[in-house]
């Protein structure tokens, strides 16, 4: 049998939706069936997505569903594939990771059903090739992720609701933009749309694209809309957060890529107004991205809650993705896509590790942990490398993407964006070290003496993702090859990739040779190791307290409070705290409360006294009569 006929995006989606249903009913009876089925379906979907590599398909998969005969299309292309493979592999690994993490948690069966559903709808978002199915999958994705957040129980109520409200607000804005496009052009299929774009009035494009972009900015938690992110990421069940932050937050960027470069297209985008050769629209997005990156970093520095810290870090890293996306040059778009990949890799590992640690310690407060590095070496190492990638240290793949983005920003002379991004990146050293110091370094509390690495199901995904991070640092040509074809699909000059194992951008402007940097680092490492190993005598292990306490006798470690972790950055928090007090959350809260108050007032209209209603009727009639006499 020729199996390739089944390697089509629509079958992937059907598999997953059917899988979600089957898993639900099978999982009601046996937890083993639940685990194996969800792994099976997601793994199969991942395999199918991987086999879609290099294919370009487009097919109708439903008959027309609106009065005017809109059909729904799905298809795949290089850009789609790039995102699809990230989403699919992260979903698969997260499901694997969740098996021990979510065991015995509330509504466990729903968790797997919803995760499969979410995976299906995320893939649906990237595979859909017309406005309507895009929107439908988008809404499905929002809903299923909302439900996943609420699975955590009462403490996630408010976060989940805020997430849902803001997302829906964004989705409705998007819907407005989409229908504008549809009504104006009479079609919803992407390629037909983009063919008609040239010659469209600029104002129309600004309005529709702006409305659509609001939806994506909400999902990427960009500046005015980031308020949902930290609570939702941190309150979500530990099994879901890696997927939430690693995969789902990329879809906002995907949507922007799709609408800006695939549908509207570069030339029309420039036609909407440009600023130093960069479209003004893109510049606005990039600006928002850089400010988001900066502000979220400041928030992250202050956090003692491990998940909230990582959540703010996610917000700030997605800011970088938006930055590269907006600038829109060959370098920056490559950087943006590459950073999306990198962020998916490292942030998933970080949230997975955080989940494992939270399960172990039973708290999210980092200052109550400490010294876990020697007890959980695998978790520590994977998280350490991921943090290196997050901080863009040049022996991980995280550096390549940030380098591309900086290079593009400096090349265009964006004196506002580039420094913000750079300082935000320095800030990321601060908060990521806070995580390391408070969780893994310092003193081990008494309660965690017998802590050890989590089970294989947790560590395997982490190791897998981390090894990819390291691998891509040496051979950035591999991901950049896929990125280059995605770029050429979007009509952007593809980035030059010399060969698979090597990438060097050696124009007159700047250079980064991953291979040389890696070689020198390894060489230097070798030298230092040799120096360390052979110089002097062998060192002996001494208890952490011995030096500090000069060998005095002591009984209770924990009571000494030697672990310097709480209020780690107090000195500078004091500096910018007055400014951070102007939190956007307050504005939203005030608006929400104000509206509730207003509606409390509005419903006073229904006074309950029938005579009032008579007044209304007579008044209404009188108004109509006056209008009838004067106006008509």
């Amino acid at each position: 049998m020729d199996y390739t006929a089944f390697i089509r995006p629509e079958y992937v989606l059907m598999l997953l939706f059917a899988g979600a249903l089957i898993t639900y009913f099978a999982g009601k009876y046996s937890s083993m069936a639940r685990y194996s089925l969800s792994l099976l379906f997601s793994g199969l979907a991942l395999l199918m997505v991987a086999l879609l590599y290099g294919k370009n398909t487009l097919s109708v998969w439903t008959p027309s569903i609106t009065p005017n005969g809109i059909s729904m299309y799905v298809g795949t292309n290089p850009l789609t594939w790039f995102f699809a493979i990230i989403l699919a592999s992260l979903s698969f690994l997260t499901i694997m990771y969740s098996i021990p993490i979510m065991k015995g948690k509330r509504m466990e069966n729903w968790f797997y059903t919803l995760t499969l559903l979410l995976m299906g709808s995320m893939l649906g978002v990237v595979f859909s090739s017309d406005l309507l199915s895009f929107f439908i999958f988008w809404e499905m994705m929002t809903l299923s992720s909302y439900l996943l957040v609420t699975l955590a129980g009462k403490r996630s109520d408010k976060a989940a609701l805020n997430y849902m409200i803001l997302s829906t607000m964004g989705a409705y804005s998007m819907l407005t933009g989409i229908t504008m496009l549809y009504v104006h052009f009479g079609t919803t299929e992407f390629s037909l749309l983009s063919a008609q774009i040239p010659g469209t009035p600029v104002n129309f494009l600004w309005l529709s694209l702006g409305l659509v972009a609001v939806g994506f900015l909400v999902k990427s938690a960009a500046l005015p809309f980031y308020v949902w992110a930290a609570p939702a990421y941190s309150e979500a069940p530990d099994g879901f957060t890696p997927l939430f932050s690693g995969a789902l937050s990329k879809l906002g960027a995907y949507g922007l890529f799709l609408f800006m470069y695939v549908i509207v297209g570069m030339s029309a985008l420039i036609g909407m107004g440009s600023f130093r050769g960069v479209s003004s629209f893109g510049y606005a997005i990039a600006l928002l991205g850089s400010i988001t990156a900066f502000i979220a970093t400041l928030y992250a520095i202050r956090e003692d809650d491990i998940k909230r810290l990582l959540a703010y870090s996610s917000v700030s890293q997605v800011g970088y993705i938006l930055m590269g996306l907006g600038i829109g040059t060959s370098l920056s778009v490559a950087g943006s896509l590459y950073h999306a990949l990198n962020h998916a890799l490292f942030k998933t590992v970080l949230f997975m590790g955080a989940g494992a640690i939270i399960q172990l310690t039973g708290t999210r407060k980092m200052s109550e942990m400490g010294g876990l590095a020697t007890r959980m070496p695998i978790t520590f190492l994977t998280m350490l490398i991921s943090i290196f990638s997050l901080a863009a240290i040049p022996m991980t793949s995280g550096f390549g993407s940030k380098w591309l983005i900086y290079e593009a920003a400096i090349n265009k002379g964006f004196v506002f964006i580039a420094p913000l991004a750079f300082v935000a990146s320095v800030g990321s050293f601060l908060y990521s070290f806070r995580l390391l110091q408070a969780v893994f370094l310092g003193q081990l509390p008494d309660g965690l003496k017998d802590a050890k690495d989590p089970s294989l199901l947790v560590t395997i995904p982490m190791i897998a993702l981390t090894s990819i991070t390291v691998l891509f640092a040496i051979v950035p040509g591999v991901p950049l090859g896929a990125i280059a074809s995605a770029e050429s699909y979007m009509g952007i000059q593809p980035i030059q990739v010399d060969s698979l194992f090597y990438f060097r951008i050696g124009n007159s402007f700047g250079a980064y040779n991953a291979l040389v940097v890696m070689t020198i680092l390894l060489f230097a490492m070798l030298v230092a190791m040799i120096m360390f190993a052979f110089a002097g005598s062998k060192s002996k292990k001494v208890d952490q307290h011995d030096t500090y306490l000069s060998g005095e006798i002591y009984e209770h470690h924990s009571d000494l409070g030697l672990h310097y972790a709480a209020n780690f950055y107090r000195p500078i928090e004091r500096m910018f705290e007055p400014y951070l007090r102007l939190r956007l959350e307050r504005t939203y809260d005030a608006f929400g409360r104000g509206y509730e108050l207003l509606s409390e007032g509005i419903r006073r209209v229904y006074s309950g006294d029938v005579q009032t209603y008579v007044y209304y009727v007579i008044g209404f009639l009188g108004m109509l009569i006056i209008l009838a006499g004067w106006w008509w």
């Binding site: 499905m140 409200i165 409390e600 209603y613 209404f620 009569i625």
Partner: protein, 493 residues
């Protein structure tokens, strides 16, 4: 094919309405079955009528007097669709009835129930303005009485709601009648088609005055903003099946009457449409905002109904085919989904003994099936994909976009209102599924006879979401009928 005269759809229920009390003297349990048969007859008749009317409108002349002098029934695709909606909703409510009407006199209840259906069916099928008035009155009186039906602890509220509804309702009928009188004075005819052709040549001021009166009169039935003071009380005070009937039948018929008068008789008078647009938006916002802070489940649903009626007004006053189709779709969806919601809410309240929303904590565990059905209804009203509300929302938005810049503003307003709606429905659904109940005991689910109508409605909600083409087949001709106006349709007869 059997042809059933539309007249019979009014005549038989009316006749049965008088037969029921008499038979009940002899056979005590008869009213339920007699009523059931009558509704079944109407259901079959309206189905046949819908099939026929898709090809050509069915016109039935009463008593051999030819229009415009005699009284006619006109069943276009739109009218017969609504007749079908009315009879099927009545049928489903009939299934739902038993435990909720135990307290009072069942014979009277069934009689009034049948009359309500007859009146509403008459409202959508008649082709004569005064006849419309008469049927409106039949419907109103039946609903007044049904509303006052409650006994026991709900009686106080029911009575209060009734007197409010009666005063406002009678006021409305008085204004409606004045409007009819003025129109008659201006044109000398009451046949709708005839009116439509004569109005352009009639005294403009008089006609506009009449229009104002009629909008006020029918606006009360259609829950338009400043005129809908009776609505929340009536929905709250009524027994649960009666609330279902209000939401799905009475208000829809009243709304349809308003639309018919504005569109068919006045040929989509643009001035009137602007007014309807503004007040539709107001209704939408006032309704949704009032629902936001409710703690009473039924009252929340009632305000949500008001909001949805505002949405319908907006959709219709956009006056283009797409928006009309969307409006009709929303009308169907609202009738079905809100009926479902009121039924499920009724079951909740019946089991819990309170209307307080906070009592719903953890209902997903205590009454899983009813909770699931409630959720389906709520999702549809919220407009989530794969439910009917989603399609209607998208189509309405697309329709409003066709109306240029103002249309875009309208679209944004509609969407903001539905955001509010999402918030309060989500709060309830969230409570049902995600909160831990204070009292963990399992509650008794409704018996199958009551569950059956809810399941049917839920299935329809779902069907509307995933296979809308089936409904568009009827709705597109219906929308075209509205746009063409009545005059051309029956050849000015």
């Amino acid at each position: 094919m059997v042809n059933i005269d539309p007249t019979l759809m009014i005549g038989i229920p009316l006749f049965m309405g008088f037969l029921i009390p008499s038979v009940a003297i002899v056979w005590k349990n008869s009213p339920r079955y007699l009523a059931g048969f009558t509704i079944l007859f109407n259901l079959i008749a309206s189905t046949l009528l819908l099939i026929r009317s898709l090809n050509a409108p069915v016109i039935s002349v009463l008593g051999g007097w030819q229009p415009p002098y005699g009284i006619v029934f006109v069943a276009g695709p739109l009218g017969s669709m609504l007749a079908l909606l009315i009879s099927s909703m009545t049928m489903l409510t009939w299934f739902y009835l038993p435990p909720h009407i135990k307290e009072g006199n069942e014979t009277k209840f069934y009689m009034l129930f049948i009359l309500l259906m007859a009146g509403a069916t008459g409202m959508v099928l008649t082709g004569d303005l005064f006849n419309l008035f008469v049927f409106t009155e039949i419907t109103s009186i039946a609903s007044f009485s049904l509303l006052a039906y409650s006994r026991g602890k709900d009686e106080k509220e029911a009575v209060e709601a009734t007197i409010k509804y009666m005063i406002i309702g009678s006021l409305s009928s008085a204004f409606f009648l004045i409007g009819i009188a003025l129109l008659y004075g201006a044109t000398g005819t009451l046949n709708m088609a005839d009116l439509a052709s004569k109005i352009p040549s009639a005294n403009h001021n008089l006609v506009m005055m009449a229009l104002a009166m009629i909008i006020t009169g029918l606006g009360i039935e259609a829950e338009m903003f400043p005129l809908n003071g009776w609505t929340p009380d009536a929905y709250t005070g009524a027994t649960h099946p009666v609330s279902v009937m209000f939401a799905s039948v009475v208000v829809k018929a009243g709304f349809f009457a308003l639309i018919r008068v504005v569109f068919l008789i006045f040929g989509a008078a643009t001035e009137a449409l602007q007014i309807l647009m503004i007040f539709g938006l107001l209704t939408l916002f006032v309704g949704e905002s009032s629902a936001l802070r409710q703690t009473d489940l039924k009252r929340m649903l009632a305000y949500s109904s008001i909001g949805q009626m505002g949405l319908l007004l907006v959709a219709f006053s956009l006056n283009n085919q797409t928006a009309l189709v969307g409006g009709l779709y929303a009308m169907l969806n609202h009738a079905i989904a809100k009926g479902l919601l009121f039924m499920a809410a009724g079951s909740f309240i019946f089991a819990l003994g309170t209307r307080d929303i906070s009592a719903l904590n953890g209902m997903g565990k205590r009454m899983p099936v009813t909770s699931a059905l409630f959720t389906i209804g709520a999702f549809s009203i919220m407009g989530l994909p794969f439910f009917g509300g989603f399609i209607s929302k998208i189509v309405i938005i697309a329709g409003s976009m066709q109306a240029g810049t103002e249309g875009m503003l309208v679209a944004i307003l509609i969407l903001s209102a539905s955001l509010i709606e999402l918030v309060y429905f989500l709060r309830v659904v969230h409570r049902i599924w995600m909160r831990e109940p204070e009292d963990d005991s399992r509650l008794k689910e409704a018996p199958f006879t009551q569950m059956f109508p809810m399941i049917v409605l839920a299935a329809f909600v779902f069907l509307m979401g995933i296979y809308p083409q089936a409904f568009f087949k009827v709705l597109i001709p219906a929308a075209q009928e509205l746009l063409r106006g009545l005059g051309t349709m029956i050849g000015g007869a």
